[in-house]
Symmetry: D2
């Protein structure tokens, strides 16, 4: 029989950019007994959650909750709004943008994948001007949707979505704006309504601090209108029946009740602390982690300070060092999981997640593990990142809660 | 802030035919910390689970695990094996067969829905001879798949799948056999390989005693072959990438780690007890519950004793009584949730689930709540069902574990 | 490695008169991380609990909380108020009164143990007139304390403590009144102040629905005054340092923090429901259980209806039947634990606990297990107790919460 | 209603020298349902635990387990072996030795309290030669017991108990040897039998990683013999009835069942890892922490390297700094609890616990919090302790488990 508690002493440090460490408070809520998903208690719970979740997306519109992990919500966004052969414009910001593009191909739409040349796109954010230029070329408005990733989990770049909206508007183009903020929601600031997003895609296992298994589509009226005529086959992902059942707090099929308990608790935690405080907390952590990287004399994956991610930081290894070898040492010696380099970034960098159930000392521990592990791996370091981050945290207290 | 603990004293009795009561042992396993789904521990866990789950389906073939609730696995079975416009033959055994038929329509295949005339199909199992007759008519083999529900959760009928297999073979027809045993798996005997099923669909929240949010496709070689040419769009549900990643115990996208912990624990519980013992336990409970219904002088929804479900029993109310009024009294006075009558059965009957984390006394309590509630609701009862069931349980001990 | 989950399917029914079934809500609270018992959070928690616990004892005076199980609180009551050789008057109501008497002997005081002749004292409550008569004889007031058990857990008799107070007053005697309501508190009505009790002893694992390991002394001013001169050695149990530290919410030595979390949750549950509602709930359950015993044609251990316990009911077996054989069958066949006959009652009766995390259907299940087990054991039963109890519960709804 | 989750984000770092952080695995075990403490399952559990616990004390003799916190076990050791007015020799190693001395006074024995002059005793271990000298003076063998603290929690000094045994033997004195290793057990090496200890006192909330509420007396034959004639009153603490009931795995009164579940799990964890590995782990942590203190240029409370504690390290503050002010800053800014200076050490030092559910990075975080907090408090530091500890941990890997 497999032993699930692998570590002999102490808690594992899970500092990948999601799944993030789940607070005990949420694990406890998730262990409440499963109830009848057609009973009166469930309806009350459903209505409460559906109302509260909107505030995290900063929308007045409905948010569809799927009992499926985040990749499903990508598919849902496409399947509800598009028809076979539809053209969509996607921007290559990294590995997850690439996977979404691959999904669009499989689903039978015609994605066009643009981006900065070479590896540059993976070190910068979405270039709104390139989108504007491409849309202006599209005189017949064949492009049905623009798809961008808000917080690119593979690189640590948080693109400027408001700028993308302005670009679409400047081009006078009617394309829908579909945005993936799976790893950004509740950690990086996000405005579904204000930024004019049509479908926002997100998941449970990042800033919401839940285990994976739940995902979201926040939808605009325009997106709902599109879903009425879009002809990609859809049933499990179809918004119509879900939105109808949601009116009374239910779902057309069995929802994942215990994760909904966790979501309810997560939302209470976010609002008890204050969502703006939560966002500031992540920005401060990210700044401290970057101080560490600077002190080490290493490079940050994201080369544009305007779009540094508050959720994760990519740390670039010197040319002759395989980042995965470093990660392996850190994992085995210090019980610390870091994010691997994905796709084009494989072996070049590792990713430090600074989200979920963390605090200053969690990050000090994380940076300590990185620093000690890099030394063991022979990475030349200019100075102590841990000390730099500690100093930053000490000198920059967060305002007290609320 | 919503209070999730609704009941002032004692445990709620959740005796719906799923989600079933989750054992504390599983809830405890699910509260282990989420780990890196790309790390070495995860691979070990994945391989272990993927090997063990096969034994529950009684198959040597792969079982695909989705981080999505059961309805998704219905869609997966269709999307992987069919192309737009394909003809499929479906059999109306009840509400869930009807919903599956509706899904097939939405996905753009052409389902033909056959069954016994009137309400009869909802009180009997799949009629293999009708399937054989229909397939024989289909000389050109236009029908690509036969879709049947093994344990119809809305009625308490467990159809004879081996007979359906024999019918297809007798007709010499190449159609795939797709079987939904969402509520049957691990409670009602099931043989994916022996019965020649091509895709078996199941879910987590019934006999596996997990919360909802996970589902399964057990697949035959023939089904996998079909998936290579079938042209319904598929990405999240696509078997190919999952089967590839599963070879090393991983998934192509984020799996629902904590439910996988629960599944691992569930499988250990089933095999520790012995799967055949688990199945015998459900048969014995069902027999006891039927004794109660007989003692009350009421009718069982399933009219064919050969296909009584070991998972749930439908109890038919007298003509002038609304079953949902009875359920409401039982719920409010005795903190007991029963299954509602669905679709054509609405108001006519209620359903008692006898699955999940139960024992003899749980069912005595359940039947006690039913009996007292029916009395309060004015249902005329011939005798005491509780006493009848207790006597049955006392006289029919289970053989000791293993 | 020992497996702690002994039962293959479903929840064990723990219907002994304590430890009582612990609500999951309390288990969850107890799993919060242990904090610094000298830190600021702890002080806030301590003050909150110390204020709330008074309401359960119905006292304005302090309640001392021990990180020790109930027997310790018996010793604490004696050690704080008495000197070696002191005379105390104790009343034999059953096994626990007998054990307390034995403890007094060991501690070096001189207990006088009075009671009804023969087995009668174990089937009736404290006889206040006998106490009054004995105290009147004690012209020199040599008796320092009267010790009685409020709810005798071994018999199911809840004595009239107000009558004992009146008896002491009528005798014009200055003796302290020490009362054990270990199994009565929060299930049977109790008034520390109004009844003029000097030390009330209680424990965590009964009506407070906590695991064992915590106990209480509610103390009067007179008791505190006595503790200043009483000369039995005392340190761990000494009130003085505890009362001093309690002023700021702390303890002089390490308290059992996680059980205090549980106690805090328990008190919230009791007051959320309303303490009077909780007490009425237990009375109603006890009445239903007695209906069952009557229907079976069996005898209740307590022969005085005025002092039937709301917490437990002793069921007397026919002469030729060993009650422990019956209990064994019930335990092995129905996963139900009942209380054994203790001391003089060994083999003569078993005890049904109706306290803790229960509801009507829990008791229906319990009575079902008793009924079926007694049949298997050959106990002749006149009728169905389960049906009688169900009818009683159906006809006597509790008023809605608060 | 008081909120028990005080911290807005992340886990509190509880690095006091006990209660120590409790592993989730133990919290999970403690949440198993309470069972009948007189039932057959309990007996099996009791026997298992009573056998396993001996191995931690390294004794073949019985270990008495109390459902009471550690201070109670001090009282038990004295109450079982001594009579009123008995002389005992106690050695002042710090605050807890002082409290034990105070308890002896309250219990009515005549303790003599010796030690190094001034504050020196609080910075060194037990001086065996002083004990030998005092016992040699006691020609009439009036001293009944020698009482010493093995791991003085208030200072971080782990005295040499074997040396004390040799001193007693050298003096040819028959006094019993009573040793408190409440905070040493399972973290610092201990040999009850080999060192000839008569009563070893310990508690649950330190190296055993349990919440507080359980304590121990490991007893020699000589101690048991003494308990038969010793005349201090004893009942709750009396060994005789407990040892008798323990033969079958039971206790004479209600044990704290759920903490016993935790203890069983704790023992499995210790033996799975290997007790010697556990002890080496603590020594290595202590060495790393001392590297940090040296790097800071600060003083360690313990001035004798031969008796540095593997459990905690006392860090002495410069003369003009109040250690409690530093602790307050660290607590408020970094969510880290450190041990306060107790008694004579108040304000002079703080204590870092390195025990319980920890690992290298937990300690890196802890030292980081100390370092940043000391800087904020104006403590002059010579260098970075965090970096020194990290380097130590990196250069000194633990041998792999077992």
């Amino acid at each position: 029989m497999l032993k699930l508690d692998f570590h002999p002493s102490g808690r594992h440090f899970l500092q990948i950019p999601g799944p993030s460490p789940v607070p005990d408070r949420i694990l406890r809520a998730m262990s409440l007994p499963t109830i009848d998903h057609r009973g009166p208690e469930f309806g009350a719970l459903g209505l409460e959650i559906l109302a509260k979740i909107k505030k995290v997306f900063k929308t007045e519109n409905p948010v569809v909750i799927y009992p499926a992990s985040g990749t499903g919500a990508w598919e849902a966004a496409l399947a509800n709004t598009l028809s076979p052969g539809d053209k969509v414009l996607m921007f290559e910001t990294g590995h997850f943008a690439t996977l979404w593009h691959k999904m669009a191909l499989r689903l039978g739409v015609e994605p066009e994948f643009i981006g900065l040349p070479g590896y540059e796109g993976w070190r910068h954010g979405v270039q709104a001007d390139m989108i504007e230029a491409r849309l202006e070329e599209d005189r017949d408005h064949e492009i049905q949707a623009v798809c961008v990733v808000h917080n690119e989990t593979s690189t640590g770049v948080t693109s400027d979505i408001a700028a993308v909206r302005r670009a679409i508007d400047a081009a006078g183009h009617p394309a829908l704006l579909l945005v993936d903020t799976i790893s950004g929601l509740a950690s990086a600031d996000y405005h579904h309504d204000e930024w004019g997003v049509d479908v926002t895609i997100s998941g449970s296992q990042k800033g919401l601090m839940l285990p994976p298994g739940m995902s979201f589509n926040a939808v605009s009226d325009k997106a709902i209108a599109a879903s009425r005529t879009a002809s990609l086959p859809k049933s499990f992902w179809a918004w119509d029946e879900i939105l109808e059942a949601n009116k009374n707090g239910y779902w057309p099929y069995t929802p994942n009740t215990n994760l909904l308990y966790g979501l309810n608790e997560s939302l209470d935690m976010l609002f008890d602390e204050g969502l703006e405080h939560v966002l500031a907390r992540h920005q401060r952590w990210a700044a401290g982690v970057r101080q560490a990287v600077h002190a080490w004399g290493l490079d940050i994956q994201c080369q544009d300070p305007a779009v540094y991610s508050p959720v994760l930081t990519g740390v670039v290894m010197p040319e002759n060092i395989d980042a995965d070898d470093v990660r392996k040492i850190i994992y085995e010696r210090f019980d610390l999981s870091l994010g691997t380099g994905l796709g084009k970034a494989k072996g070049k960098m590792f990713r430090i997640g600074h989200l979920g159930d963390c605090n200053d000392l969690t990050l000090v521990a994380t940076l300590g593990g990185c620093e000690a592990g890099m030394k063991l791996a022979g990475v030349p370091l200019k100075g102590s990142g841990v000390v730099a981050a500690m100093d930053y945290f000490a000198e920059h207290p967060l305002p007290s809660v609320k």
